[in-house]
Subunit: 209 residues, 2 copies
């Protein structure tokens, strides 16, 4: 990547819209050891309380990309997990308010690029919190040539597959992606988002007592 | 917890069955920088190749518990993510071969305990890789009294809710849990599983260059 930006560390980059709205709701109440909610029976937690809890659910940071008749795009997502290995399937939660939602669905073929510990700036660009256009991002010399969908050359893991199912759930959809191709680096680190900060994990854990 | 065990660090603890089968398939091939698969068009990655890729998708480690007419149990799961905050919903992927699968579904009410960095041994017990019975685990002085479902007192986050939907997908089900109560500690660390090892993340990221 040609540029080096000094970006603020921001809130959970699950999608553009969510990333932005999460930044507006960063908890400003005095810190205390724990926040207990569920004040009345049947009273669900507030949006802020739920987001605060979910900000403490550590997750790998990924950029999901697509290309095809409906266009080329990519978005930073953290709600990704393995579902089953028969057939090999991952799921990705995607905000339905994002214009990209329908592009991913319509193209049908996607790549989930699991980010390396050094790719924090890319996570910020694809979370839409910088002023770099989508078109410009795809001009950078960071992509593997000759792929049907954009594959980040230095990603820790890339999985490419086809959207087999899409389950709407509130503000989001859950895309079920059947995987046709995988590539894993064994020398990389993981970029993890936890408590509204980026962290890097070495592939070998430090000895714990 | 009364005991202190020196347990081997093992493979991805997504459920008992999967944890065990994953341990049997730890990659023994010579290490190389990256493994590229998808050898023939239309040829999916092997189970081992897909598992190797997913072992590099870092994830928080959680113990999901339930109690009710169908019984009390808990299992270590790493495939958990936030879906939407309206209504507040998380999803959990659970192996259908596990006897606990039907207990969670039938009871309907579950607690996802997001583990603190110091709770690695509990993760091992609830992954079923130690010889501690389910009944014994619930005798330890680690649970909050007076709860409908088992709540780990020192968990980093606990979310309690009701299974609203269950989508079968290959070997697993995806449980959609609508959250009614959350509790978040702000002073804790996160227990993360990455590359078949446990890692701890401090709540404040080290400064990165």
């Amino acid at each position: 990547m040609a540029r080096s930006l000094n970006l603020p560390v921001a809130a959970s980059p699950r999608s553009v819209a969510e990333f932005d709205s999460a930044r507006r709701t960063v908890v400003s109440a005095p810190e205390k050891e724990q926040a207990v909610t569920g004040r009345e029976p049947g009273q669900p937690p507030s949006q802020d309380e739920f987001r605060e809890a979910m900000a403490h659910l550590a997750a790998a940071v990924n950029i999901m990309t697509t290309d095809g008749p409906s266009g080329r795009c990519g978005v930073t997502v953290s709600a990704v997990c393995s579902v089953t290995d028969d057939p090999p399937t991952v799921l990705v939660c995607l905000n339905r308010k994002s214009a990209m939602h329908d592009v991913f669905k319509a193209n049908g073929r996607v790549c989930v690029n699991v980010l390396d510990g050094d790719q924090q700036e890319l996570a910020m660009h694809f979370a839409g919190v910088t002023n770099v256009s989508m078109a410009e991002r795809f001009t950078w010399d960071i992509w593997d040539p000759g792929q049907q969908v954009p594959v980040l050359r230095d990603a820790l893991v890339t999985v490419i597959g086809v959207v087999k199912d899409c389950k709407p759930m509130g503000s989001h959809s859950v895309l079920f992606v059947e995987i046709e191709q995988v590539r894993t680096r064994r020398d990389g680190r993981s970029l993890v988002h936890f408590n509204r900060s980026f962290h890097r994990l070495d592939s070998v854990a430090p000895t714990t007592g």
